[in-house]
Symmetry: C2
Subunit: 435 residues, 2 copies
Amino acid sequence: MTMAPKSVLTDAVNASMPLAESLFREIGEKTAAAAGVSREPYGPGEQTAIDILTRAGRTLDLEIASDPFGNLYLTLPGRGRSAPAWLVGSHVDSVPSGGNYDGLAGVVAGVTALAALRRCNVVPPCDITVMGIRSEELSSWYGGHHDGHIGSRAALGLLPAGELESAVNSRTGRTLREHMRDAGFDPAAVGRGSPHLSPDRFKGYLELHIEQGPVLENRGIPVGVVTAIRGAARARSCRCLGAYTHSGAVPHEYRSDAVMATVELVRELDLEWERVRAAGGDLVFTVGKFFTDAGVHALTKVPGEAQFTLDFRSQSAATLKAMKVLAERLARDIGARRRVGFELGQFSVQQPAVMDSGCRSRLLEGARAFGIPHMEIASGAGHDAQDFAHAGFRAAMIFVRNSHGSHNPDEAMDIADFALGTRLLAWMLMQEQES
Amino acid sequence: MTMAPKSVLTDAVNASMPLAESLFREIGEKTAAAAGVSREPYGPGEQTAIDILTRAGRTLDLEIASDPFGNLYLTLPGRGRSAPAWLVGSHVDSVPSGGNYDGLAGVVAGVTALAALRRCNVVPPCDITVMGIRSEELSSWYGGHHDGHIGSRAALGLLPAGELESAVNSRTGRTLREHMRDAGFDPAAVGRGSPHLSPDRFKGYLELHIEQGPVLENRGIPVGVVTAIRGAARARSCRCLGAYTHSGAVPHEYRSDAVMATVELVRELDLEWERVRAAGGDLVFTVGKFFTDAGVHALTKVPGEAQFTLDFRSQSAATLKAMKVLAERLARDIGARRRVGFELGQFSVQQPAVMDSGCRSRLLEGARAFGIPHMEIASGAGHDAQDFAHAGFRAAMIFVRNSHGSHNPDEAMDIADFALGTRLLAWMLMQEQES
């Protein structure tokens, strides 16, 4: 039997859920922190997760491999061993005092899907490799300059070796290179030779992940099929410089008020966001920091300085570009009119990663076939899947409903929702034809 | 001779300028701080100024008196000793590391005017008393609850005794009552019996002061006649409470963004300010502090809290009321629409003090008569004159052009401008008729 009927697959996934639950439980307990879990990149918690997943792979008689960066590969051989394989992955690390599901759910879903296929004695059309990825959450543990997503980018040949030096552990002050080497891996392999993973060897990359926003929960829908991972245009240290003066004695025409100018800038961008939404565009806009100088500011002083951040995210590269250009134009115009100087600094731009349309259609088809309530949804947070998409992989993601957001100990995924997502994933891996 | 011709008065004031310059120089030198001057309320610097002014009064053979709060009174007797007298005053204290002219200029102008009258052997129509006032700048030295302007309010019976306890010296941690007593004065007299100064005994209160804004300087005019001292409606610890969430994953409809809501509030108030100005109204509006929580905020978090201040100042009590009501309405409407809670807290309201119209007309007439370039101008900063106005005195103020604002060591008044203001003051004191 090469293609299991839906009911057989459903039964097999359901019968494999105790494995999923035991993996979540054991990894959660063994990486518990004072609150939630802590699985530091190239630290003991991450290694514990890899070890427990390796043992599960051995029990399921999967082929076990790794790469020089410590990523784990568990493979269920398919009929055509030389045909392009499916890669199923997510990350095993977490933020400090994070939740147990952010990342880990995708790896456990992959292992559970393989267990279900084993259980109904299916030999899939091609190899299926579950990848336990290292160090996606680096930015929560390391300062300095780096773009996170270390395990996937290293394996894909997308990690500049310089980041091994410029990423500095916030607790130890030591570089990522040192920590990677101390953990037993080979930082010298970063950027050397051809990438460990290349798109021609794979049918595509699939990632199941908890939704980190409240959309599925608020709409009462357990599963999402991701349209794209939003890109970002961010300015992390903007300043507006005016002049401190007496708040009572200086009339409007002689003021250089940094707060009033920044307020106008932000409000105009907010209004543009409203217009983009009204036109059906995809955009979120956040000013996460906005502050006058605590050492100088006062109730009765016109503020001479304001600092702030700008974070635009969109599925559309054109929208990101337009917002960046608008911010820069407003800064010039408002600055001139209000006698202040804006310094927005360099925007760091991350391109959106559009999920493969063929894979998305197939996932929607599968969800309909199984009667799983679902919707299409954008991913606002970054994921390893974006690196695979940028490396030329066909990439797709399944979101599972989750409460309380992520990156905190209170994230809450219902295991029944997880079973629905895993069923859809297993079904996808069984399809004979690429769409 | 009872009424000196203008040229005689001009010559006498000019001939008395060396006295003014020597008083500025000696008091400035003896109260010098690392930067500028420091004359702390009921501290040694303030006492030094009082001592030097007392000595000048003795040299000019003026009658010397004081009150239980340490204010100094130097009186040139007039012809009708029982007729209501002119009171000419300003404060002798300063902010820490402040300028030498803020306050002191008004007392030196009074002494210089009396010296000029002595010089041309004029006996004025009524007594003229120059008052060296204590502790106007208390808010720069004392925290806790108080409304500053201690010397004038104590003498006028406007100082609640409770402020002696609730005003706490920021350096020593001790109360104003203790400091006042240690300086040799009588805090128990605060609020006891009838006020030391009552409006029926005086023709009016005149105060010369440097302008603390840039208006006269920018317009190239040496002297201003003050229309009113702006009142204020201030909220000193406003908060907007929303919810921290992921900046990428949470769409607009699920956000409770404290910065975006506060930005809309401030921008709407700014636009209303624009409308008030366009309609010829008097208003300044300042948000001196605006800050997200430095311990929690981040580039990639929707901000869950923002704190800010509101400072409205106007010559019109109705305008202050309208802005306060608008702020409160906007807070409700924007809060409901954006799913955040605003807490503006209590507004502290200080009523505007309109200067006496008869005195203003007389001063404008005098300026025209002497050919002194002048303009009418609002005072944005608070002054002792407002307390006299609130106590029922006819009060008026003369502003003298000043560079670099005040409350800093760089304030710069040209002594020639000061001579013009003092000439106008001396002329006013010589007028037979009330206007």
